[in-house]
Symmetry: C2
Subunit: 234 residues, 2 copies
DNA sequence: TCCTCACTGCGTATCTCATACGCTAAATAG
DNA sequence: CTATTTAGCGTATGAGATACGCAGTGAGGA
């Protein structure tokens, strides 16, 4: 991942590069829109080598998945320099979603550890940079950005997968409200029954749009909190 | 999931109940602390039936996983009736984490769709109930709770998995800051370099505690935003 | 110049899994 | 009493990850 491998002196030149493997794996997942389509055999076929040759570059399939998770995020666009922190973070959050939405399988990746790949760290840096004008202590910046990442990560996991589900079978979502109404006992779940009565789930037709609106609503609430925090501290 | 099956008249009595299957699967995952340990064969063995017998009760392993994801969340404790919305939601979020932490594999589950199982809905209702005294329109309550769920979901995905990784190999985390410092170019990632300089990542020793603090910090920011919103609307 | 050995690619084999198919036996409706 | 529905299961298949060891390569050292 960090290309730390000291150049080996002896032996045949590798005909295969790690980057090619990872790229091939990503292409397969993209084409099939399915992480399960990525098998070692298929990746090997795509790069034109045997299955076992891959294991000279990757310890296991899990390691390949980790590499994919970093490589799938391209480098972030630099944020415009002249915007305030709030605009910056809003743009940032949108950019993350845009980047991840190019790879629907992203949400299905098992999580590995703290943000560690070069691309992940670049995004981390980008978000921190948006806060550089605030004069907050570094620790507070990290806390704010971690919270934001947590929220975005949740959206990736829930929203992205829901969108995939919706694309597969929109009817289930259209009937969501009606189905719930049939199943729910208003005495046991009164608050939810009230929501259903108010018809909040009746219009789930334009799903993507709704999802984006919900995301933005929550995001702005969070940023309101951040604004109040900055006010309080300074 | 909803026990909608109309009682069948003919045929031998089932010796096996869906609940037992799901419970067995959860126990296996708990004992091995590993979702991958759940194989159809192993579940079958545990309930004392053959592998294929399970398929009379679940259509596929994926369906079993969905059932596990609902069953693993027990019913929420009812929130104390006399607390304000903010305390209620704080308790709620902590309770979700506590419930999920009993099953570390939870974060690894593939996501299936909108909250649909009975237990999931009960949690949904519980959070909505915390907002019932605010007089907000139902739609706003849903938006607020969805945002909160998104944040909590993100914490489950990131925090829970990190905690598992930390338990496996604390040293990697202890060296996190030092490792980053070695790998990062301050000219390319200046904001991150500044954070490292400030030593924010130097003391990751007490990981669980840190993680909880970060979660709470972000949560309170979000709730500050909600408070401002309620103020603005009423 | 030639030998050595670290290193790459790969063929084969093994082991684990999910699951399709079809048979048998149970129990109830008519 | 018989037809029909349904539960459990044995067998088989096919996919997939990966351990193991062989064979060829080519730079460093003699």
């Amino acid at each position: 991942m960090w290309r730390l491998r000291e150049t080996p002196r002896r032996g045949p030149k590798p005909t295969l590069a790690l980057d090619d493997i990872v790229r091939a794996a990503i292409e397969i997942a993209d084409e099939d829109k399915d992480l399960a389509a990525v098998s070692m055999a298929r990746v090997a076929e795509r790069v034109g080598n045997s299955t076992m040759a891959l294991y000279r570059h990757v310890k296991s399939k899990d390691e390949l998945l980790v590499l994919m998770s970093d490589a799938a995020l391209e480098r972030p666009e630099p944020l415009p320099a002249d915007v305030d922190w709030r605009t910056g973070l809003t743009i940032w959050a949108g950019a993350v979603l845009t980047a991840v939405r190019k790879h629907r399988w992203y949400a299905k990746l098992p999580i590995s550890g703290p943000p560690a790949g070069p691309n992940n760290l670049a995004w981390f840096d980008s978000a921190l940079g948006a806060l550089s004008g605030t004069g907050l202590p570094e620790e507070a910046k990290v806390g704010i950005v971690m919270g934001l990442m947590t929220y975005v990560q949740g959206e990736i996991r829930m929203g992205l997968d829901l969108a995939a589900g919706f694309a597969d079978n929109p009817d289930i979502f259209r009937q969501y409200g009606a189905t719930l109404a049939r199943v729910i006992d208003p005495r046991q779940l009164p608050a939810l029954a009230r929501v259903l009565d108010a018809g909040v789930f009746d219009d789930v037709g334009n799903f993507e749009q709704n999802s984006d609106q919900d995301f933005d609503f929550g995001l702005q609430l969070y940023l309101d909190g951040v604004a109040a925090f900055i006010e309080r501290v300074s």
